[in-house]
């Protein structure tokens, strides 16, 4: 071995020292903490209010934690709160939303992923024109299509049913999801597709056995987008369904805006949190999946 030691060093050496309370750090973390508090505070107020009884709320201490914890408002919001004539709480709306969201998400993602796959790998005549038209669809305001769709649904006998709303959500998810999937599949190495063709796999076999297993990250993104979008939808829900089939968002609105009796703030807060719980849990669950998906997808060929 060559002797590589030399005389003791003088002057700056090794990692540069950093002060924990430099002006830069104070500014950076100060801003972050302030913004975090700004967003967290309403959630906190909602949560503590939902656990208080009405007499305690009338005292007006909005920020103080409940003196006497009660879950009655939650129970009431779920199963007893009145919307107009019926008093079933949010539960009916919740199950309606589940029946709307699950088929819409699955259908729209399956169709859009096949669309994106065909557009990126099997260039057919007019593929680019088709894609342009589809993307253009994403820029048309919903309001323009609201009434024509009412007529179309009425003509095919789906107006007011859950099926009709599922159809509308599936169609409206198409442009953005197709774009998402097309761009993802285009980014996968083309040689994989070629190799699969040499191996004798056809359109569906390549899709199911080569492309889909590599696409966990983009499917996760699509699920997040669709679940939150469809669950939080109010406009389509109120326009295309009948009162029996109202989704949870519409029920929530009806409970909170009911004009009869006393405003029950604790029940309203509990109902709002209940409605937001599904998108919230989707973020928590799929956030981890998302990271894992990216790690698995990072290995290319």
């Amino acid at each position: 071995m060559i002797d590589t030691t030399s005389a003791p060093l003088t002057g700056p050496q090794g990692p540069k020292p950093r002060k924990p309370f430099s002006r830069r750090n104070i500014f950076l973390y100060g801003t972050l903490i302030t913004i975090a508090l700004f967003y967290a505070l309403p959630l906190y107020v909602m949560f503590v209010t939902s656990l208080k009884g009405m007499p305690e709320i009338r005292l007006g201490n909005v920020f103080s934690p409940p003196l006497e914890v009660t879950f009655q408002p939650w129970v009431k919001a779920w199963s007893e709160a009145c919307t107009g004539l019926t008093c079933n709480g949010l539960s009916t709306g919740f199950w309606n939303s589940v029946q709307i969201t699950i088929p819409s998400v699955i259908l729209s993602i399956i169709i859009a992923s096949v669309n994106g796959y065909a557009l990126s790998n099997w260039k057919f005549k007019g593929a680019d024109a088709f894609f342009t038209i589809l993307i253009f669809g994403a820029f048309i305001p919903y309001q323009v299509m609201l009434y024509p769709i009412v007529i179309m649904l009425r003509e095919v006998g789906l107006y007011g049913s859950l099926g009709g709303l599922v159809l509308v959500h599936t169609v409206f998810g198409m442009p953005i999801l197709t774009l998402l999937f097309r761009n993802y599949f285009t980014s996968l190495p083309e040689e994989l597709f070629k190799a699969a063709r040499v191996d004798g796999a056809g359109f569906w076999a390549i899709y199911a056995k080569v492309m889909v297993p590599m696409s966990l990250p983009i499917f996760t993104v699509a699920v997040i987008l669709q679940v939150t979008g469809i669950w939080n939808d109010f406009l389509f829900g109120v326009v295309y369904t009948s009162p029996d089939n109202y989704p949870m968002t519409v029920s929530l609105n009806n409970i909170v805006n009911s004009t009869q009796g006393v405003k029950e703030y604790n029940v309203n807060m509990a109902a709002t949190i209940l409605t937001g719980l599904v998108p919230l849990s989707i973020y928590f669950v799929s956030g981890r999946l998302f990271v894992r998906g990216i790690a698995a997808g990072a290995v290319k060929g």
Partner: protein, 360 residues
Amino acid sequence: MQNSVEIKNLDLQFGAVKVLQNLNLEIGKGEFLVLLGSSGCGKSTLLNCIAGLLDVSGGQIHINDRNVTWAEPSDRGIGMVFQSYALYPQMTVEGNLSFGLKNAKLPKPEIAKRIKHASEVLQIEPLLKRKPAALSGGQRQRVAIGRALVRDVDVFLFDEPLSNLDAKLRADLRVEIKRLHHKLQNTMIYVTHDQIEAMTLADRIAIMRGGQIMQLGSPDEIYGQPINKYVADFIGSPSMNFLEGNIKNGTFEMGELSIPLDGYEFGDTGAATEGAATMGIRPEHVVTGELVESTPFQVDVEVNLIEPTGSDTLVDCEVAGHHFRVRMDGQSRVSVGEKLRLGFAPARASLFDAKTELRL
């Protein structure tokens, strides 16, 4: 010799761009053909046409006396190895090898037999249960070759298979591919831009440029008798020295120097053509030291620059105003500014017409 692959009047164009033009090529059974060219010359495109991954605009492709111009890639009796390996990342090595066979609906015992055979040949048996991510570059490329091997096909297509590997591994795998070819005796078509790979592997090399084949011949022919100046310049590293001059009365005249052309084998014309010409001489065909006395042509030069590479020393100098490089033994001691006496035999040189750049 029976032909394994025949390409007849092949045309390919993307819109107005003609990528391949009226290309004809016949590849014999068991032959190792290398398509060599710089990027954008159409060599990979040609391979994709043979594989059926690109639709041709005109002409025919025959594999094993069967017209496969319209056939699906999987029905052509070919196996293909890609530059990026293109292994299916979510399948194990075994899954990768069996994917094509399962698509062909082969019975399970047959699939197992073929995988066993291929993994023995390529020595990847211990890796069968692993995913591609857990393999090194060399191992991945072996699996990619295995995927072509299990298909039990007559023609192997390689699309720059070694370009993603480091230099040492590339040299090792090159030898392995050659060994594999000796063992299997399959027809192999191999695309590369690396001339060392081409020279070492090929039975015949096709040099491509602008969608056409410039020269098709054995590595010896390509190296020794390049058909035009482009091929001469492309093959060989360091590249050939070119001297501009005139041919007159059987000598090559260049300013004050005149090089006798005795022993040079002229092409079709059989005799010296008069007029402007370019002489090409490879750096390794120039001799120095005591050997100079035995050469028909000698010249004195001054050393401008030296590049020692260990095994050789490359010397930069000037001959009659032209940049000239000489390859000397790595042991030779030369220094910049030194006077050196060079000599070479015109019989080993190449002469090209100055206008058409074709070999004389």
